[in-house]
């Protein structure tokens, strides 16, 4: 999972825009209304390169709310909601896979 920041924009399936909230670093997802949500299920799902580009531009324009926005491939649940599609995004959504120091 090469850091998405270093990767060129290429769309392979449903995609959502994610970033970290400026004030506390919390993982957030861009909603269709252009706001940021902590729930991936509320993320806007884009399926075309143009749509992703549009959302990304919107996200980058809001760098004072959320930083480091990038396009992440997502899976679409039966309810039509976004869900993480790879290990990196699963970890971002669910937290570390390890129990921290006991």
């Amino acid at each position: 999972m090469t850091s998405p920041l270093q990767r060129k924009l290429k769309i392979s399936g449903p995609t959502a825009i994610t970033a970290n909230r400026l004030a506390d670093g919390v993982v957030v997802w861009l909603t269709s209304g252009g706001a940021w949500s902590m729930a991936i299920a509320e993320a806007a799902i884009a399926t075309t390169g143009e749509e992703v580009q549009r959302l990304l531009t919107l996200a980058h324009g809001d760098e004072n709310t959320a930083v480091g926005a990038y396009a992440a491939r997502v899976e679409v649940t039966a309810e039509g909601r976004a869900a993480p599609a790879n290990l990196r995004e699963r970890i971002r959504v669910n937290g570390p896979t390890i129990a921290p120091a006991a």
């Binding site: 004030a23 670093g25 480091g68 990196r88 970890i91 390890i98």
Partner: protein
């Protein structure tokens, strides 16, 4: 250890105030992210997967009990009750909020610690031997020079925007415990005809293009230390590559110019400044040396009765055999605290553990604690007669696993569980390995074996210099791991050799176990260590077995 005076404290307060203002300007939007990022990095603040991470500098790995308690307080107040010790003798907090960072830093500044220059393209904190000031094989305490370098490099107006980060390590013992050959500048202290001086190595480093440092000077008189460093860093600042981030470290400049040509440039620059303001005369050395408090050691007989009695207990004896080494003062010992419990994340330490360790340091260890680059802690000065009591107390909080230097004393970077640059996870691999090798007698039989894990090519887990090095690579969203063998980080530093194609995550633990079993079968005698066997036999016999079908 070095005690901050009013000047150091004023400086730190000014630094916190400056950062508070920068954070406020970022939050108000006055500074954009591009402008702010280098500023926060230079205070040790990263943005990771889940949150901001604060990397706190522990200058040359030395802490006092009060400072350790302050770290525990920060862990509780601003984080999730634990911290992670790194291979650069720092501690990282994984869950800090940007808006709270200035307060966390102000709390740390009260006890003289900070995150200054733990990141960014500047001179990072100088690392050294965790046993400094205690080791028997030491020529002189390297921390005096590490502190001199710290002061010189702190907010250096010329060297804060270098092509890339710049790391200095210094060792003053016969045995190099600071991996000086794999740093941008490595310094080894020697004594010649009663004079102290340094062997200067440049251009070492791991990461995607690993190099072993080249010696450009055999013996630099100590008074010239800073002027020589200034000449090196100036040569790098002006001539290092800035066109490609992957080629921007000094090692590439040294490699492209050739070590000799690079050395000539440095020497030419140095001749112009060697007798200038940076010359370290005795008075300059003394002002710093005076601020170092050395414990008032009372020499005691070695091997006191309390120790002899305790050694009858096999559990104590096993711990003593690998966690305790002789101290330069009679009747004392250096104790390593393993932060590698079976199944635990390597290097993690809870706030409660920190508090207890601080208490123990005060009670039994002249108030001093060290951070070792192996991601363990050290009580550098313990009376031998107190060892049984110390062991019981350490065992009670889970930091007396008798695995120091053994196969489960794994060095691991945070990997994909925290790090935004990662390809794969690394901590879970370490956890599984420690579970596979949980038997104390078995790991003692296996003997000295360093396993290092990095979750990407940046090599924060120093996998190139692990006897067994494990590097995470990603293929089609699946985690794979490459194994290298035969790396070493000491004065005979060597990079490990890749044994073949990457192995899927589900098979990596078995593969490592097969490597270890191969060693046990092929070793000439139990006295032949893993690394010695690899050197004698080459990687072939290991390679065959690592990939053998189960």
């Amino acid at each position: 250890m070095y005690v901050y005076d009013a000047f150091d404290r004023t400086f730190l307060q000014e630094r916190v105030a400056e950062f508070r203002d920068q954070v406020a300007r970022r939050l108000s939007g006055e500074l954009n992210e591009e402008e702010f990022k280098p500023l926060r990095l230079m205070n040790g603040v990263y943005l990771q997967l889940h949150a901001y991470m604060l990397r706190v500098c522990i200058p040359y790995g030395t802490l006092n009990a009060t400072q350790l308690r302050a770290l525990a307080r920060v862990a509780r107040r601003y984080d999730r009750d634990y911290g992670h010790f790194t291979t650069r003798q720092n501690i990282q907090f994984n869950w800090i909020k940007l808006a709270e960072l200035p307060d966390a830093m102000a709390d740390l500044a009260e006890v003289g610690i900070h995150g200054i220059q733990t990141s960014g393209n500047c001179i990072r904190n100088t690392t050294t031997d965790a046993f400094a000031g205690a080791a028997r094989d030491e020529i002189e305490d390297p921390r005096l020079y590490a502190e001199i370098i710290r002061q010189w490099s702190t907010l250096h107006p010329e060297f804060t925007y270098l092509p890339r980060k710049f790391k200095i390590a210094i060792s003053a013992a016969r045995h190099d415990r600071a991996a000086t050959r794999v740093h941008d500048v490595g310094l080894r202290l020697h004594r010649r005809d009663g004079e102290t001086g340094f062997e200067v190595m440049v251009g070492g480093g791991l990461g995607r293009t690993p190099y072993i440092g080249k010696t450009i000077r055999d013996f630099l008189p100590k008074e010239d230390l800073l002027s020589y460093l200034e000449a090196i860093v100036r040569t790098y600042n002006l001539g290092g590559r800035r066109d490609n981030i992957y080629k921007a470290r000094i090692k590439i400049q040294v490699h492209e110019l050739g070590a000799e040509a690079f050395a000539e440039k440095v020497e030419a620059e140095w001749r112009q400044i060697k007798d200038g303001a940076l010359k370290l005369d005795q008075a300059a050395l003394d002002t710093i040396a005076d601020r170092f408090l050395t414990p008032d050691f009372e020499a005691l007989p070695d091997d006191p009765a309390e120790l002899a009695t305790a050694l009858a207990n096999p559990a104590f004896a096993r711990w003593h055999a690998n966690s305790v080494v002789p101290h330069k003062v009679g009747g004392h010992a250096i104790v390593t605290l393993s932060l590698k419990p079976v199944g635990g994340p390597p290097g993690d330490c809870t706030a409660d553990q920190m508090d207890t360790i601080a208490d123990l340091a005060e009670r039994y260890g002249y108030g001093e604690v060290r951070v070792a680059h192996e991601q363990n802690l050290v009580l550098p000065h313990v009376r031998q007669k107190d060892l049984p009591a110390v062991w019981r107390a350490l065992d009670a909080i889970g930091v007396a696993t008798p695995n120091v230097g053994l196969v489960t004393d794994i060095i691991s970077c945070p990997g994909l569980d925290y790090c935004s640059l990662a390809n794969t996870r690394s901590i879970p691999i370490a956890q599984k390995l420690t579970q596979r090798f949980a038997d104390d007698a078995r790991i003692a039989d296996i003997g000295r074996l360093h396993v290092n894990i990095s979750g990407c090519i940046n090599a924060c887990g120093h996998h190139h210099i692990g006897h067994i090095g494990i590097l995470g690579v990603e293929k089609k969203d699946e985690e794979f791991f490459q194994i290298s063998l035969g790396g070493k980080g000491n004065s005979k530093a060597r990079l490990g050799e890749l044994i073949g194609p990457a192995i899927p995550e589900s098979e990596i633990v078995d593969a490592v176990e097969r490597l270890v079993d191969t060693y046990l079968e092929l070793r000439a005698s139990p006295a032949e260590t893993f690394i010695a066997a690899v050197e004698r036999l080459g990687i072939e016999p290991f390679k065959e077995r690592a990939y053998a079908p189960r």
